[in-house]
């Protein structure tokens, strides 16, 4: 049965407006990144007066973008791997075992989601400094400290989503594996994890994006050598000039890896959310 005209027209109008809303900033980002400086300091122009790739060359020398890039990659990558592994273990325990304190655990972990980041910024800063003074392990100002912080940010949501996902993997499967002589960890890695790949990918994407985009802790807890992109991009505005074309070029460069990865994996994300978060 074909939908009525009222539906088709509402859909057309709504989706067109929404596409415009979504696209305008993306267009501004892309087009401004190809403009000469004069175009972005004067009145806004929809079309560049001349196309130039100069901003894409200059971004690497105006600020040490490559170093920030590597820092972000190391921090977000490590935080993602650790967060996913830890979430898999926790979710498996909650999904497959009955034990005392299970409810307390899930409620506690989930409620940390509620904490405003600002609440533990200063205490965490003090803890890291104290650990550093007492043990010599440099957490403050190091990538390690940032990795440690970030991996806990995505952990609650990841655990929660994976519990739902693991619950949807039939128990018979891993019980059969246990019967066949697998240990519990064997059952987890040979049966449950392969069956839950979409959920795990979804969680990994989420963890990576959280770490890649975080600003607050990155701006307090990094120094010149460990600075991530989140803070580094501020370097394009000097007292005299704001290099908007370079800012847009750099924004685009730092966005491409995440956006491409996200779009490639978005099917997994919907599949992961369907079984995990949405039940």
């Amino acid at each position: 049965m074909a939908p009525p005209r009222s539906f088709l027209w509402s859909r057309r109008i709504f989706l067109t407006l929404l596409t415009g809303f979504v696209l305008v900033p993306v267009y501004v980002m892309v087009s401004s990144s190809l403009k000469p400086l004069a175009d972005v300091t004067g009145k806004f122009r929809w079309l560049p007066s001349e196309l130039t790739i100069r901003p894409y060359i200059d971004i690497w020398s105006t600020v040490p973008l490559a170093r920030y890039f590597v820092n972000s990659l190391v921090v977000a990558g490590a935080a993602t791997v650790c967060s996913v592994v830890i979430a898999v273990f926790s979710a498996y325990a909650v999904s497959r075992y009955e034990f005392r304190g299970k409810r307390v655990f899930t409620v506690t972990v989930l409620s940390t989601q509620m904490f405003p980041g600002i609440l533990f910024l200063l205490p965490l800063f003090l803890i890291y400094v104290n650990i550093g003074n007492a043990t010599g392990i440099a957490l403050f100002g190091s990538r390690g400290g940032l990795i440690l912080t970030y991996l806990t940010f995505s952990l609650p949501f990841s655990i929660w989503m994976l519990i739902g996902y693991f619950d949807s993997v039939p128990r018979d499967l891993d019980e059969a594996a246990l019967v066949d002589g697998c240990g519990p960890l064997g059952a987890l890695f040979r049966v449950v994890v392969p069956a839950a790949v979409p959920g795990i990918v979804a969680v990994a994407v989420y963890a990576f994006m959280t770490a890649w985009g975080e600003v607050l802790f990155a701006s307090v807890m990094t120094n010149d050598t460990t600075r991530t992109l989140a803070v580094g991009l501020q370097g394009y505005s000097t007292l005299n000039d704001v290099y908007w074309n370079q800012i847009m070029a750099a924004s685009l460069v730092v966005s491409v890896p995440v956006v491409a990865g996200f779009l490639l994996l978005q099917r997994y994300l919907v599949a992961g959310l369907t079984a995990g978060a949405v039940k």
Binding site: M114, P116, L122, M209, G213
Partner: protein, 329 residues
């Protein structure tokens, strides 16, 4: 489930050699009692170190007169009992008045942003439930704002909101002539609109994603049955789609609320360390109280008050929705 497992067990036992089976099973059971705790240990330790211990320290700090002089040795800061709290909730004095203002701005902002994100996300997901040409492309496009790193996306908006060389003023003033003169968007009253726009632009795709996932759980037979009964598209959306999304929406709205309420990245990149009064969200307000005016004790007290409020709201919300769910089942 358990019966099938038990039925298979004897067959396996036959194939395992020797009498070692008995004792091994026992150790297996002993190990399994500890195993869940072992599996949870890393998550627990990390949550303790990064969230719970700092939170406790934060609460202790809120009872101290903690200024920059004591930051090296915060334990030595003088005890101030409830002074920080008294200052925070004294709405006639400047600090409390500013906090109350910031709190109200945050509430208004959060409600509007969550409402709009939910509305746009749901509408988009429902409209895109059926297949049509270009749907896959459109879906990918709609997810771009969500996938973009916050600072990259928000910096682009900062550029668009510039007074002299931004797109927004160019369109509104130069091209459409809707305003007498170019407006300021990142200072003054307009900053609230700017913040809301950016927040909705960045946030609605998450609602879209979740609702899309939720729609996949609605059995097709429901729609077929409704079609047989002669229900039109609009009726099907109103009577099947939207009610079926209720449990999904309950989670979605709560998560959106908490994330928006606690959002620091968006206002911080948009306005910097000090937000304009009209868009002074509470997280930036507390940041400013702590790191700009160097009063960590008051900042901590404000954080604790904020946490109490969020606990109250979340608790109330969960109680309300779970009661609804019980009644529905």
């Amino acid at each position: 489930m358990t019966t099938t497992a038990q039925a298979e067990r004897p067959a396996v036992r036959k194939s395992t050699p020797g009498a070692a089976r008995g004792p091994r099973r026992r150790t297996g059971r002993v190990r399994r009692v500890g195993l869940p705790y072992l599996l949870l240990l890393p998550a627990l330790l990390l949550e303790l170190l990064v969230h719970l211990v700092p939170m406790v320290i934060g609460i202790v700090m809120s009872f101290k007169e903690l200024t920059q002089f004591y930051i090296r040795d915060w334990g030595a800061a003088p005890w101030s009992a409830l002074d920080n709290y008294r200052v925070s909730v004294d709405f006639d004095a400047p600090v409390g008045e500013a906090l109350l203002h910031s709190f109200l701005v945050t509430i208004a902002f959060t409600l509007l942003s969550v409402g709009l994100c939910w509305l746009i996300g749901t509408a988009a997901a429902v409209f895109m439930q059926d297949t049509f040409r270009g749907r896959g492309l459109l879906r990918a496009l709609f997810l771009v704002p969500y996938a973009l790193p916050v600072y990259a996306a928000v910096i682009t908006w900062v550029f668009m909101f510039q007074h002299d060389n931004g797109l927004v003023n160019h369109v509104l003033h130069d091209q459409l002539g809707l305003t007498d003169k170019p407006s300021f968007w990142l200072i003054g009253d307009n900053s609230f609109i700017a913040l809301l726009t950016v927040s909705v632009w960045k946030g609605w795709p998450f609602a879209f994603l979740i609702v899309m996932a939720g729609l996949q759980n609605i059995p097709g037979e429901l729609y077929e049955a409704a079609a047989l009964d002669g229900a039109g598209v609009w009726q099907r959306i109103r009577r099947i789609t939207l009610p079926s999304l209720r449990p999904v929406n309950q989670v979605l709205v709560l998560v959106l609320f908490l994330w928006t309420f606690n959002d620091f990245n968006t206002p911080f990149v948009l306005f910097g360390r000090t937000a304009p009064e009209a868009a002074d969200l509470i997280s930036v307000h507390i940041y400013q109280a702590s790191f700009v005016t160097w009063n960590f004790g008051t900042g901590s007290a404000m954080s604790v008050l904020l946490l109490l409020f969020l606990l109250l709201v979340t608790g109330g919300y969960l109680a309300l929705t779970s009661r609804g769910r019980r009644r529905a089942s």
